[in-house]
């Protein structure tokens, strides 16, 4: 058994978010975690291509754009993770036979990228005003060589770590919506990381709430 993780590592870096920053998309947001930064845009509900049409719900497409070069297999796998998470959160059956497109543009990668994609995606979906069952947020945990948990690791910390886990936590029951891991780890370590992520999600959801409250403070 590992000792209780050192508290100094269990922090979330500076968070920042700006919504509606792009004029063309129906919803947009940029999300910053430390130096990691992602911009997200949502189009839809709009007309769908016949080949992608689903008769009882909307078709959601997620596109991840890397900074240099074309998207590769890695981006495709991340797209799948983000898409299936969003699909579970969105009430897609309200918009049958229509298309939703979520584009995520990487601006800078300094660790915890997948969680930043998820957070940016959630903020953009909110900005687009799409009906959702719940919100979700992404938390990345790294386990370093000493067995300590580091939340929201930087790229350097990720490199040093022995295992890396990213979870998407839902806002209603704080359960795991998505999980993506790297490296090998014990069951205990995973359960601890889940528990830490659930705690961290409280902070992120509070941040969501604060930023949305601030945004609508004049209209309310």
């Amino acid at each position: 058994m590992m000792e209780v993780c050192g508290s100094s590592n269990v922090t979330l870096r500076e968070f920042g978010c700006e919504q509606s920053l792009l004029s063309r998309p129906d919803g947009s947001a940029s999300f910053v975690q430390g130096d990691t930064s992602v911009m997200a845009g949502v189009y839809g509900p709009a007309e769908v291509k016949v080949s992608k049409e689903i008769y009882d719900r909307a078709t959601l497409e997620v596109l991840i754009q890397p900074k240099v070069g074309l998207p590769s297999v890695r981006e495709r796998s991340q797209e799948q993770c983000v898409r299936e998470t969003c699909e579970a959160a969105l009430q897609l059956s309200l918009h049958p036979r229509s298309s939703l497109t979520l584009i995520l543009q990487l601006l800078h990668d300094d660790g915890s990228l997948l969680s930043c994609y998820l957070n940016a995606a959630c903020m953009a979906l909110m900005d687009a005003g799409l009906p959702m069952n719940c919100l979700f947020c992404g938390v990345t945990c790294a386990i370093n060589k000493e067995g300590e948990i580091i939340t929201d690791p930087t790229a350097a910390q990720e490199k040093e770590s022995r295992a890396l886990m990213t979870f998407a936590i839902d806002s209603t029951e704080r359960r795991v919506m998505m999980s993506s891991t790297k490296g090998s780890f014990s069951v205990h370590e995973m359960q601890r990381c889940i528990a830490v992520s659930q705690k961290a999600s409280e902070k992120i959801f509070q941040f969501y709430r604060d930023s949305v409250r601030r945004r609508y403070s004049k209209t309310l």
Binding site: G69, P71, S72, V73
Partner: protein, 274 residues
């Protein structure tokens, strides 16, 4: 910079270890008995193993193994034509797709289909089409997909046989089965159903009568639906070659018939009392 960004990428270049082998590869004997013990200049085809209806998702499927050549064929359809603009109101369409698994040849192949695959697909389509009653399937298409798992020669010939079996298994109406057989002519002698080594190994003794020939044959109608030859052969050799190939097809015929009968018997409702 054309890179394949839809697959996990390896190094830009890599080489087959056999390029650096210390001992030269054993040469294929040009006279006398063949490497696998079969007879030269005789209609000595490899024993084949065939089976129908292996793939649960497909309408019809077949697997064929001849020597080390292994290939599989699945048939989907008849279904609505995908390309609406090509819908034919009177006649169905046959589409074929033939590909080699990357590990199927001695040299690792690429996932991206090369011109050879496309060539084979086309040959396959042209050989099968005459045997199908496509007029019975207006506005629809029948898809034939072939995957070569291991290439040990005569791939096209066996693909034709396998595909026609799969079509029959799928219950697509046909005038007859299509059987394929190929020979390799090397000067005066020839080998039937050549292996990969025999296909790619030609002696430079005589430049005349060098070539390969693949025939697609409808056995009960006694008609040829497809013929492909490369190399240079005299008219007489070619005619003789075609004759040899049809003979080879006749040898396959009972095995194919029997595999089909077995699949039909299995698929038919049991003659039970209930």
């Amino acid at each position: 910079m054309p890179t394949d960004n839809k697959r996990v990428r390896g190094p830009e270049v890599s080489q087959n270890p056999s390029l650096f082998r210390c001992k030269p590869a054993e040469a294929v004997p040009l006279h006398g008995p063949r490497a696998d013990g079969r007879q030269r200049d005789q209609v000595d085809v490899r024993p084949v193993f065939v089976r129908c209806g292996l793939v649960s998702q497909a309408k019809g499927s077949a697997y064929i193994e001849a020597g080390n050549t292994k290939l599989m064929c699945c048939v989907y359809g008849p279904k609505e034509t995908e390309r609406k603009d090509e819908t034919d109101m009177k006649c169905g369409r046959l589409t074929t797709d033939m590909r080699f698994a990357p590990f199927s040849c001695l040299e690792r192949g690429s996932w991206i289909q090369g011109s050879q695959d496309k060539d084979f697909s086309l040959m396959l389509q042209e050989s099968l089409q005459p045997a199908l009653c496509l007029h019975k399937y207006p506005r629809s298409q029948v898809e034939v997909n072939v995957v070569v798992l291991e290439n040990s020669g005569s791939v096209l010939a066996h693909a034709i046989t396998c595909a026609s079996l799969a079509l029959a298994d799928a219950g697509i109406e046909m005038y007859d089965l299509v059987l394929g057989c190929s020979i390799r002519q090397d000067g005066d002698s020839y080998v039937v159903d050549p292996s990969y080594m025999e296909e790619n190994n030609s002696s430079s003794v005589s430049s005349e009568n060098q070539g390969g020939l693949t025939v697609a044959f409808l056995p009960s109608l006694n008609q040829i639906s497809g013929l492909q030859s490369d190399g240079a052969m005299t008219e007489e050799t070619l005619t003789a070659g075609v004759r040899t190939c049809t003979e080879g097809c006749y040898k396959l015929y009972p095995v194919i018939q029997q595999a089909l009968a077995k699949a039909v018997r299995k698929g038919a409702p049991p003659p039970s009392e209930s």
